[in-house]
């Protein structure tokens, strides 16, 4: 499975990692809903470090689409709120 970490590039990761990432993702959503910025920061960096440590960086010369898009590691708490509200830079 191909994962893009925004601003950093793409990683090739075993499909079995999906459940683990999904769990961290759910926790992040909870953190944002509860306004717990400290936990949000911790879990976002956990999400990204998990992908980086278990995955393999894909060469810049590859042109492939990703299965999962992960926000940039320095995404602020406010930006995370914007993602759910559909406002700011991260609007679709």
């Amino acid at each position: 499975m191909i994962i893009r970490i925004m601003g950093e590039g793409q990683y090739n990761v075993k499909g079995s990692l999906f459940d683990i990432l999904n769990k961290i993702d759910n926790t992040i959503v909870e953190n944002v809903q509860k306004g717990d910025e400290k936990a949000y920061r911790k879990n976002l960096s956990k999400l990204i470090s998990t992908i980086k440590s278990k995955g393999e960086l894909i060469d810049d010369k590859e042109l492939i689409a990703s299965d999962i898009i992960v926000p940039p590691p320095d995404m602020t708490f406010k930006e995370a709120h914007d993602v759910f509200r559909g406002t700011g830079i991260f609007k679709d």
Partner: protein, 232 residues
Amino acid sequence: MGLLNRMGTIIKAKMSKLLGAAEDPRETLDYSYEKQLDLLQNVKRGVAEVATAKKRLQLQREKLLQSIQKLDGQAQEAAKANREDLARVALERKSAIFSQVEGLDSEITGLEAEQAKLVAAEQRLSTKIEVFRTRKETIKAQYSAAEAQVKISESLSGISEEMADIGTSVERAENKTDEMKARSAALDELIEQGTLVDITRSGDDIDRELARIGQKGSVDSELAKLMAEVKR
């Protein structure tokens, strides 16, 4: 819906905006290529803008360091003239300016990180554009419109995703640079008016009060030291 799902939707929406709908898919390749070159220019401009903003903060920092030196001299002179009150004012100003310098230091570090990220993005994008260009020419030369359709979809979505990602990075960098610009303009004004000592840094009342207490303590001890030196 999870954060990752949301991010996926957002990027897909940005990607579809990047893809023009041409009758002949081979035209879509050319259109995308033009967009890629535009984006590369944008990234380069972003790098230059961040560098300029950083330069400006560095100049301000130098100016502030000069005023710290000047205030130090003034405090000493005041102490020599046995004007403890004046010496205190000078040291208070110095302490306020010092905290501004610290603020600038962290902003400069932030901009440096931003610049490094954009430079990396620029390299990644130019590599991908080059790969795309070669592939595009091959497809245009060898395949009919119908065959091209099949061949291009993966490359096209791969590069569009990269573009959506890098486009977002550039926008975020621009926002940060704008914020810095506004703050450094405000700081310039304060330096000119000589009212720097009055500005209270961000935070609530308690933060400010605590900062004031901390500042007062350091001013008190520095003043005592200065007066003792002069009396010796």
